[in-house]
Amino acid sequence: MFLAIVAVLGIGLAATSKPAYRLRRNRAIAGLLATGYPAMAIGFLLGPRAIGVIPDEPLQDAMPIAMIGLGWIGVMVGLQLRRDLISALPREVRRLTIADAIASSAVFGGLAALLLPVWTGQPDPATWWLGVALIGGGSIGWSMETRSLRRTGTSPAGDRLSLAVRAGGAVGGISAILVFGVASDLVVRDASGGQGFDLLAAAITIAITIVLAVALGIFGRYFLDVAGRQREHQLVVFIGIVVFAAGVATEMGLSPLMGAMLTGVVIANLAGDRLRGFERFILKAEHTVAVLFSVLAGILLDERIGWGGLAIVAAIVLARLAIKPALAAAVLRSTRAEDDRRGLPPLPRASAIYLGAARQSPLIAAMAVGLVLTEPSIYHQRLLAIVVFAGMICEIVALTGGANQRRRMLAREQPDPAFPAEPNLGASA
């Protein structure tokens, strides 16, 4: 157990060290690292189904630490839902996030509902519903990193498009957690361990989650005021908020990620300088928590998904590649007339940056890890593997496709419409 924690922490610290950050100056590597797949690969290699440095049993003992990580991620996502920030979002981004939430829930949720019964061999929807919630909800949004899809140099249109795709991914992540949290609350376990749908219980669960989040946010601000400027006291309160946000939710059978996210939302919208300090603290640890969680995902996944699982992976990948970039381009460019009136640079018809929407958000892996930890089962471990494999393939295709598109445009001397004409950069383009 001790060795397992040391190994995971060691990887997390190494991945966020200065030499590692130097490596990230390469755009392609940065794009890959932003989604956590290399760390997941390391986790899988060290885990019980490969080399076995980290055996299965200690992981259940490490659940409290994993819950802190889930709480951290949830609070981090929730902190973005500030009133002033959301109202400052461009109109096209708001349209895009709504369109994406509806389309993704319908398409990917529908795909999951069709394929999961065949894969699991279970006709009762309650047994595979959590998989539908994960794939349907978790497919909303996308990876927010866009630097790897851009060429060197910037332009007003490119900056605008990059910001729109990034903001769409961020707000999409919030929608993803909400949809997953609400959908997964629809299924409840009865006293005999059976599962069934219960709308009333779901409504009560969601109401309790909201009340807990508000209470924790308000108490959090009070305790931060009591802590004053003592850094040590502040640290205790910071970690306490994160732990309570996820831990209490888990103990009460609520979604830890959603509970933590709602707590983050409450905190972000309460006034107070101490709370801004809390936000900085949470955000500074973003990369370290991301790496730790990615390693954990790699350790927990069960790669034995069979042909049925591979079919689900293929369906997710094809649907993401076919729908997401086209939807992003269509919705973002739908405000052309308004952009002209406002004197904004028009968004390009084609750009490698739209492929960013095809890349899966790292949040779906966090949701899947939370599912494995709160409801341990081989089914959930294999679901985790499915979403990880689908995400990896989408990532590789999007990054490769983006690079090819830029190369073709340079070769034909047709500049990417998002960027001004550039000198021939040769191999470095």
Binding site: V77, L79, L85, E145, R147, R166, G173, D273, R276, E286
Partner: protein, 113 residues
């Protein structure tokens, strides 16, 4: 305006402050001491790295309030700069002290006070 002659007494005081709490205290102290200054919004390299590679907090990492720092520049006398250093040593904990240093000023124009 004609260049003012070089004075060995003049230094450029530079402070890089990442904590909003410390910024408040430093600005108050500078007003008390009588040191003028210019405040520039800035970002550290690690903040830029996090902004370039968002994982979960893509929007929040772009906000200056949550990721940025401030640089204070002040062309002042050595004596006043020393008072600022004394304030930092007396009132600000070592771990929270901003990166502060002075560089000599050879020539200047537009100095007031």
């Amino acid at each position: 305006m004609a260049d003012q002659p070089a004075t060995p007494d003049r230094v450029l005081l530079i402070m890089i402050i990442s904590s909003p709490n410390v910024l408040d205290d430093v600005l108050t102290a500078m007003l008390d001491i009588g040191v003028p200054g210019t405040v520039i919004e800035s970002k550290g390299i690690m903040a830029i790295m996090r902004e370039e590679m968002p994982v979960f907090g893509g929007l929040a990492s772009m906000l200056g309030a949550t990721t940025g720092s401030r640089i204070i520049l002040s062309a002042t006398t050595r004596a006043l700069a020393d008072e600022v250093f004394e304030f930092l040593e007396r009132e600000v904990k070592a771990k929270e002290r901003p990166l502060t240093f002075t560089v000599p000023v050879d020539k200047a124009a537009g100095l007031r006070g």
